[in-house]
């Protein structure tokens, strides 16, 4: 059999615990939407104990050479010139129009070695932009398996697996362990969490060790649905869902800038030239077309409207991903891109992009049985959920 999607280095383990064949595609791999029949427990573990996620499908590039640091600093919008070995940073990177190409993390593994993660293939983009820099770019996506352990107990579990060094790891720090693997304090859940970067040959061993130690802490393997709920609560954006990457957009209007995606904090216009700087400086001065907001949809009224006609209301437990128009009193002012019921906050949340200066009181149309009705969608500050333990 040849025509199959790729499987990650952890596949023998993930396949064994898959209960309902809920696989999905991610970056050319089959990965789990949920291992259990529903993703409830997987999500709850992430907020109350810890959840183990196979995120190997991320693209990973290793950048070395005398100009590696300078090159990356010029590539991305964030000022990473001060990054020390053991440091890590989240950042978007843009094309010359200031449109986001991708977003991910950069870590400095040692003096001259950096690693960049991305949601989409970026090898060509990196190469093109490396013209004039003395760097070597290597696609190590398939060499390295990545596990994310997210949740309040994640620190205890990893300390048991790898020793007390884990406890010293600061938010967005990365350390080398056992010769050939690294642990970073990063993740996509908006909670306390870590990511473990392992050579693919050791993938199963590491999975087993983490699961073994995690047993006492109610560790639960989790799929993408659980992660998606958590990242919406955390107000973290996702490529292809919340924005179309610049090089995939058919028209410029389809692509987004960091300011439009709520990533203005990661654009450092004071640093020397970087790709997209001119356009972003202009946007900063002139204002953006859109801005990212969190929305809280009035689920109580949604429930009432259902009750009125004798129906139970539906809870969007599995996050939806589509473009849904958002209105003020007069007209459409933007669009939501994803939404989910938050079991932690007990609220119906959505991420949206709206015109700057729009009212805080917006509306969204939702089907109640067979008829469309308008409901309140209040603008809320992001992240919706931000526990102190994330950085603590």
């Amino acid at each position: 059999m040849m025509l199959r999607l790729k499987t990650t280095p952890f596949h023998p383990r993930t396949e064994a615990i898959m209960q309902a064949n809920q696989w999905r595609r991610w970056g050319g791999y089959s990965v789990a939407s949920a291992y259990e029949m529903t993703h409830d427990r997987e999500y709850l573990a992430m907020r109350n104990a810890c959840a183990l996620l196979d995120v190997s499908a991320l693209y990973k590039y290793q950048i070395t050479g005398p100009d590696a640091h300078a090159f990356l600093d010029r590539l991305v919008t964030r000022d990473i010139s001060q990054m020390q070995p053991g440091g890590m940073a989240y950042t978007p990177w843009c094309d010359s129009r200031g449109k986001v190409v991708d977003d991910g993390t950069i870590c400095r593994l040692d003096e001259g070695t950096f690693r960049l993660t991305a949601a989409d293939p970026n090898y060509h983009w990196l190469e093109e932009n490396a013209a004039g820099f003395e760097v070597v770019i290597e696609d190590v996506s398939e060499e390295i398996g990545t596990l994310a352990l997210q949740g309040p107990c994640s620190r205890e579990v990893l300390a048991e697996v790898f020793g007390d060094a884990i406890r010293e790891l600061p938010f967005y720090g990365i350390i080398h362990l056992e010769d050939d693997l690294q642990v970073s304090r990063t993740g996509y859940s908006g909670d306390l969490g870590y990511e473990v970067w392992v050579p693919k040959q050791r993938a199963l061993e590491i999975w087993d060790r983490i699961v073994e130690k995690g047993r006492r802490y109610a560790l639960q393997p989790a799929g993408i649905w659980a992660l998606d709920v958590a990242r919406i609560e955390a107000g973290l954006i996702m490529l292809d869902v919340d924005y179309t990457p610049a090089n995939k957009a058919t028209t410029p209007a389809q692509a987004s800038t960091p300011y439009e995606l709520g990533l203005g904090w990661s654009v450092h216009l004071k640093k020397p030239h970087f790709v997209g700087k001119k356009a972003l400086a202009r946007e900063k001065a002139e204002g953006s077309a859109l801005t990212l907001v969190g929305l809280e949809i009035d689920h109580d009224r949604l429930a009432q409207e259902h009750e009125k006609i004798g129906l139970p209301v539906h809870y969007p437990f599995v996050p939806w991903r589509e473009i849904v128009p958002i209105f003020d009193e007069q007209q459409q002012v933007g669009y939501a891109t994803c939404g989910s019921w938050s079991p932690t906050l007990k609220k119906y949340l959505a991420l949206a992009q709206v015109k700057p200066g729009s009212s805080e009181n917006l509306h969204v149309d939702i089907m109640v049985d067979r008829y469309r009705k308008r409901f309140d969608a209040k603008v809320k500050k992001l992240p919706f959920f931000n526990p102190p333990r994330k950085r603590g």
């Binding site: 059999m1 999607l5 293939p121 970026n122 090898y123 983009w125 190469e127 058919t250």
Partner: protein, 525 residues
């Protein structure tokens, strides 16, 4: 004797589309086809008992979706089976495949080149944007940019509107693509030989130019303008072959009230007081109508069917030098079973359901052209192969197969004696057998259409599959002659609706439809 509103000379797919639109608008239409059946170059023939051969065209992509909808071709029998993959077997035993899936194709390309795997997406997106921008031009009559007539100015504005939506960078790419050779253009994107080669082939289909000849970039773009169910750059096999497609249009035309007469070769267009008023057949029968529309190619129409004295000299001169030398042959094989290809790994046989391209490198393609350009044939020809019986079992008896091979280059200038035909057929089979060792043992019957045969059987001058080269000097407002590029001709009431007119050859239905729109407008004016 019955007097028609319109007589269409030729029942090729464009003639049929044209007739159907006129009939749909309530006109009395008669189609006169010289052969025993309509279809022209879109035809399926049972050359060997039980085996249906595609002696002309074989795949559909550029067919305008409006034609399918407006003529209700599905109701009249059209069924399109999309092709899913492209396979390029290589001489070193490896292969390159375009899988039906994005992730699979990316992985396949990664095997060959990491860089190309990534550029591929950018390339596809760029080509998609270019074809999106260009596509509306297919459905517009080409305006004359030197004319001050309101209709030309209006149309220019419309085109400006279409192109004005393009991003600047794309517009620059478009201009370069149209004027470059396809090989040079692709050199800027890719490094993998077979990938470049396979992408090059769109630039030379039907064209007597090499992959390194400037202008082949445009031909490639032409082939990118197609779509099946909105999927760009995809090809489909019509169930029953392209002949069944032609029959579906004929059925539609008849349902709208058109009459179709087969075995009716037109000898001459009848002209009275400078205006066409009918035709006379080779057997002497005469038919009269207010308008006569020729589906035959421009050279056949104006050098054979219209008496010279009715045509201006400069127009005649344009038509005489219209470039139509052709390099394309068509080979069909009846096979006792499915041939195997040494490059296809076990378990991947599904790749045989798609296109199979004998195009291992850019040099291979250019060499094939070099061999033929002085009036010879390629010693190792380029081939675009398809096994239609894998898609539609009705094409061959159970367990047996037919294989269709589009072959280049073999010059229309060769004196195609039966011996030469047999020789070139051997060259084709030998070349293919290098990739499929058991091919020869499975051949029950083989059949070739040389450019000469295409001329004789389909009535196309020099056998040029597009009714004349798709090169810049004879496109848009220059097709087939400046000032006569809007389906009208220098003879009043004589119109054109075939592939020599905008937007040119391929199964598109566009010349037929556009000409009908213009004629109907002109009629009511």
């Amino acid at each position: 004797m019955k007097h028609y509103d319109a007589i269409v000379i030729g029942g090729g797919h464009n003639g049929l589309v044209h007739a159907a639109y006129l009939a749909k608008a309530g006109r009395q239409v008669l189609v006169l086809e010289r052969r025993h059946t309509v279809g022209g170059a879109t035809i399926t023939e049972e050359i060997h008992p039980g085996f249906k051969f595609l002696i002309g065209s074989y795949l559909i992509s550029l067919l305008r979706p409006q034609v399918i909808q407006e003529l209700e071709l599905a109701k009249h029998g059209l069924e399109l089976l999309p092709l899913e993959s492209t396979l390029v077997p290589l001489t070193n035993g490896d292969y390159l495949a375009d899988w039906p899936d994005h992730d699979m194709t990316r992985r396949e390309l990664l095997r060959h080149s990491r860089r190309d795997a990534e550029t591929y997406e950018e390339f596809s997106l760029t080509m998609r944007r270019l074809s999106l921008a260009m596509k509306p031009l297919l459905d517009l009559f080409p305006p004359d940019p030197t004319s001050l007539a309101p209709r030309d100015i209006e149309q220019m504005a419309r085109i400006k509107g279409v192109l004005g939506h393009m991003q600047r960078k794309d517009f620059h790419t478009l201009c370069r693509l149209c004027t470059m050779s396809i090989a040079d253009f692709l050199d800027e994107w890719f490094e993998t030989q077979p990938l470049k080669a396979i992408k090059c082939t769109s630039g030379i289909i039907g064209t007597f130019m090499g992959v390194r000849s400037p202008g082949t970039g445009y031909v490639a773009l032409h082939h990118y303008l197609g779509e099946i169910d909105g999927v760009r750059r995809s090809w489909a096999f019509p169930k029953g072959g392209t002949g069944a497609f032609a029959q579906s249009i004929a059925n539609a035309a008849k349902a709208f009230g058109a009459e179709i007469l087969e075995n009716a070769p037109v000898h001459q267009v009848l002209i009275k007081h400078g205006a066409a008023c009918g035709v006379v057949l080779e057997d002497g029968r005469e038919f009269y109508a207010d308008r006569v529309i020729s589906n035959a190619d421009a050279q056949r129409t104006f050098l054979k069917l219209v008496p010279k004295e009715h045509l201006p000299d400069d127009f005649l001169w344009d038509i005489q030098r219209f470039r139509s030398a052709s390099p394309a042959c068509k080979v069909n094989l009846a096979l006792d079973g499915l041939p195997t290809f040494s490059a296809v790994p076990k378990g991947n046989e599904q790749l045989l359901r798609g296109s199979i391209e004998i195009a291992p490198s850019v040099d291979y393609l250019e060499q094939a052209y070099d061999d033929a350009k002085y009036g010879g044939w390629a010693r190792k020809p380029f081939m675009d192969a398809l096994i239609p019986s894998l898609l539609d079992p009705g094409m061959a008896p159970p367990g047996k197969h037919v294989m269709s091979l589009f072959v280049e280059y073999a010059s229309s200038e060769i004196d195609w004696t039966p011996e030469k035909k047999a020789q070139f057929l051997e060259v084709v089979v030998d070349t293919l057998a290098e990739y499929s060792p058991d091919l020869k043992s499975k051949i029950i019957h083989k059949h070739i259409m040389t450019p000469h045969d295409i001329q004789e059987v389909f009535g196309i001058t020099n056998g040029h599959i597009f009714h004349g080269e798709l090169s810049l000097h004879q496109l848009l407002f220059l097709k087939p002659s400046p000032q006569w590029a809007q389906y009208k001709t220098p003879v009043r009431h004589l119109w054109m609706c075939g592939s020599s007119t905008h937007p040119g050859g391929c199964i598109t239905g566009a010349p037929g439809r556009n000409a009908a729109m213009e004629l109907l407008k002109d009629w009511s004016a």
